[in-house]
Symmetry: C2
Subunit: 143 residues, 2 copies
DNA sequence: TCTTGACCTCAAGTCGACTTGAACTGGCAC
DNA sequence: GTGCCAGTTCAAGTCGACTTGAGGTCAAGA
């Protein structure tokens, strides 16, 4: 049989056992049975976990990812959803690029105080208007 | 006098009053006094808020931002810190770009199931190895 | 003077994605 | 047969950045 122990799944996927239980509870993955108390997973859970990891990396929430699987468990990926997320990523990328360039400039800028550097002030205005305008929530990967 | 009411600061900066109080508590901004119970802020708090917004947009935590101000309140921006953050942003940007391209491909891909699309599978392996290898925590801006 | 209501404080709640802790169980080696 | 210990459950805790709620105060307008 190719049923995998939770520890084995954790080892092969790099996803902690606690997270696997959590994902199961959320309906993101399913165990195929038990040996005593112990969960057994089919080997294809690894592919599923990869799919989940990809979704997370692309910025999908677990909620959204869960919705990408049909009740039968097969992936049901909505192409429009993918395009939309791609657009969103693109926007984020553009913003981050501007920010990166600004940071680089500020890091190299010879002005005594950053406040006297025109580039820095321009960046600042951009950020301020970002905060000011719409109720935009922004978050970036920590560390 | 150019002292601003908290509501005025909120209006001009787009930052909710509750957040202003929270930032004050965290030492990110300071009020210059009170009129009765009401906080009064100096107009330069607006610039400070812009600085904070920029820091947030660049992915700095409030902690880190707080450390960017000297005890006297003047910005004390560490150029190496800026470069480091720029590098980090650059890495994020590269990852997101790959993800975006992958999503676009998947959205346009004619394969019946995404699992049969080589590009999609490649993306998947990338994401899986990301999750697998180091304990990398990833998060992207929601909505 | 009295009322109003915006602002105040402090504690607690929220959100997402997990992790941690306490108490328990059961297959397997001895 | 029995003890070990990796696995199990369920509740609660964590983290960051705020928001919300209850109950209180006070400057200003009628």
């Amino acid at each position: 049989m190719n049923a995998l122990d939770i520890t084995e799944v954790a080892r092969r996927s790099g996803v902690p056992a606690s997270t696997l239980r959590f994902y199961e509870e959320k309906g993101l993955i399913a165990s195929v049975g038990r040996r005593g108390l112990r969960r057994l997973f089919d080997a294809d859970v690894l592919e599923r976990l990869a799919l989940i990891a990809m979704g997370r990396a692309a910025g999908f929430s677990l909620e959204e990812i869960a919705r990408m699987f049909a009740p039968d468990g097969r992936p049901r990926i909505d192409r429009r959803m993918l395009s939309a997320k791609a657009e969103q990523l693109d926007k984020t990328i553009r913003e981050l690029s501007a920010m990166r360039d600004g940071l680089r400039h500020a890091a190299a800028c010879p002005a005594a105080s950053h406040m006297e550097c025109p580039t820095f002030r321009r960046l600042l205005r951009g950020a301020a208007s970002g905060a000011t305008g719409a109720r935009s929530r922004k978050r970036l990967p920590p560390r």
